[in-house]
């Protein structure tokens, strides 16, 4: 935004869309899906208030909060990787993307542990309306994390090979990864925290 204001009228504004238009179509479409899940969740929450509140108490807030921190850290690493890749320091960008990916794997492990504990305690998907939403929404989110890990792996492959390096690819992957992070924050707030 600053760069637009600084340009003189005769110059072309140096506004740059990160990634490309295609990734934005996908991210906005996907956000629409999640927004729809959240609205439906809220409608059912209003209808079955007491069931939702009782069930929510059985969620593990510590693992939820830990996963939020892990994913935020991951997003930070990926954002730094984009900045570093733009300056041409691909070795450092590779390290940062790897760190982001490791955080993503850690998120998956913590999530699996959390699910395992809940299922072991008898809180399974068919138990009630709340757990139906809990497993479905966190499941779809986890599916997005796994796709994100695949995307980060593809970026790593490109960063290691000088002929394949494209800053736009790193940007597009980062946009997707930030979306996964953003969606998780809303999930954490709605499913774990909102009373």
């Amino acid at each position: 935004m600053v760069s637009i204001l600084e340009t003189t009228p005769t110059e072309q504004p140096r506004w740059h869309l990160p990634g490309d238009i295609n990734i934005w179509v996908f991210v906005l479409a996907d956000l629409f899906s999640f927004a729809f899940y959240f609205v439906v969740f809220m409608v059912y929450r209003i209808e079955h208030g007491s069931v939702f509140l009782d069930s929510q108490r059985h969620l593990n807030l510590t693992t939820g909060a830990l996963n939020t921190l892990v994913l935020l850290a991951s997003s930070r690493f990926v954002a730094l990787a984009v900045q570093t890749a733009r300056t041409g320091d691909y070795r450092r960008a590779t390290r940062l993307v790897s760190l982001g990916g490791l955080c993503g794997i850690l998120f998956t492990l913590i999530k699996s542990y959390e699910w395992f504990r809940e299922i072991a305690d008898g809180f399974t998907l068919p138990r009630n309306e709340f757990f139906m939403f809990y497993f479905s929404i966190t499941g779809v989110h986890l599916f997005h994390v796994l796709i994100g890990l695949l995307v980060l792996a593809l970026i790593l492959r490109e960063l290691r090979e000088p002929s394949l390096r494209r800053a736009s690819m790193v940007e597009a992957g980062a946009i997707y990864w930030h979306m996964v992070d953003l969606v998780w924050i809303v999930i954490f707030a709605l499913l774990y925290l909102a009373r």
């Binding site: 490309d20 295609n22 729809f36 439906v40 998907l125 939403f133 479905s136 599916f143």
Partner: protein
């Protein structure tokens, strides 16, 4: 006879090329919106499969549903049996455009195969279950209820063929270097996959957002399918317009 037919193609194609180039492709393209409009009319207006009636109802209500809609179910699904074959023309057109892509034709074969198999649980099974339910109005009401469940569970819950179908189409578009379809269509197709996955709980729930008439398992998936279909029809039109007349398509 043989000599006459052998001489014919060259003469006809020279004239034909000038008058209506790509007529064959345009005929197939028009089948696409026509077929899906008819499909929508049959499933929404006539047979009442979409939006699906409620899963958590008693035997009496199920039987009165079939009594109320018996005639339109027969009419609608009889129409479907006449026209269902047109689905192969629409799939053939997409498969043909996929063959123009730089990817190996395996994606095309998988695309055709998944939809050919998917037509059975995705449309035909439901149609025959409903047709059987209204065929003998004096049938044991519990058996009619069984046909209701079978019809609607297969219709909303048939996932595997379609997720694979979207996956091969999305991958083909994403990996294609000829840019037959724009990259965003690959993303729209990927987007479809996640919504299909959320229809999996229909086998568990009789009410709520994840039942077969639920906001998430049915309505969201259907809205996104309509968006996907609209994009596909528009992009197929563009692809046909941009396709060079003398282009050779791989076998």
């Amino acid at each position: 006879m043989t000599g006459a037919t052998a001489a014919l193609p060259a003469r006809v194609s020279a004239r034909d090329d000038q008058r209506s180039p790509k007529l064959d492709l345009w005929i197939c393209w028009w089948v696409f919106p026509a077929f899906y409009t008819l499909f929508g009319l049959i499933f929404v207006v006539l047979t009442r499969v979409m939006p699906p009636p409620r899963p958590g109802v008693g035997v009496d209500q199920i039987n009165s549903f079939f009594h109320a809609h018996g005639t339109t179910i027969k009419l609608g699904f009889a129409l479907l049996m006449v026209f269902i074959g047109l689905a192969s023309v629409t799939n053939g057109l997409v498969a043909f455009q996929m063959k123009r892509m730089s990817v190996k034709p395996i994606f095309t074969y998988a695309y055709i195969a998944t939809l050919a198999v998917g037509a059975v649980p995705g449309a035909l099974f439901a149609a025959f279950a409903f047709l059987a339910a209204v065929f003998r109005p004096d049938r044991d009401p519990h058996l009619v209820a069984l046909l209701y469940d079978v019809g609607l569970l297969t219709f909303v819950g048939s996932l595997g063929c379609f997720t694979t179908n979207y996956l091969v189409l999305a991958l083909a578009i994403a990996l294609d270097k000829n840019k037959v379809f724009p990259m965003w269509m690959a993303y729209i197709t990927f987007w479809q996959i996640a919504t299909e996955l959320l229809a999996a709980p229909v086998f568990v729930f009789q009410k709520g957002a994840f039942a077969w008439n639920g906001a998430i398992s049915f309505y969201e998936g259907t809205v996104i399918f309509v968006v996907f279909l609209g994009c596909l029809i528009v992009l197929l039109r563009r692809a046909i317009q941009q396709q060079p007349m003398d282009e050779l398509v791989q076998d």
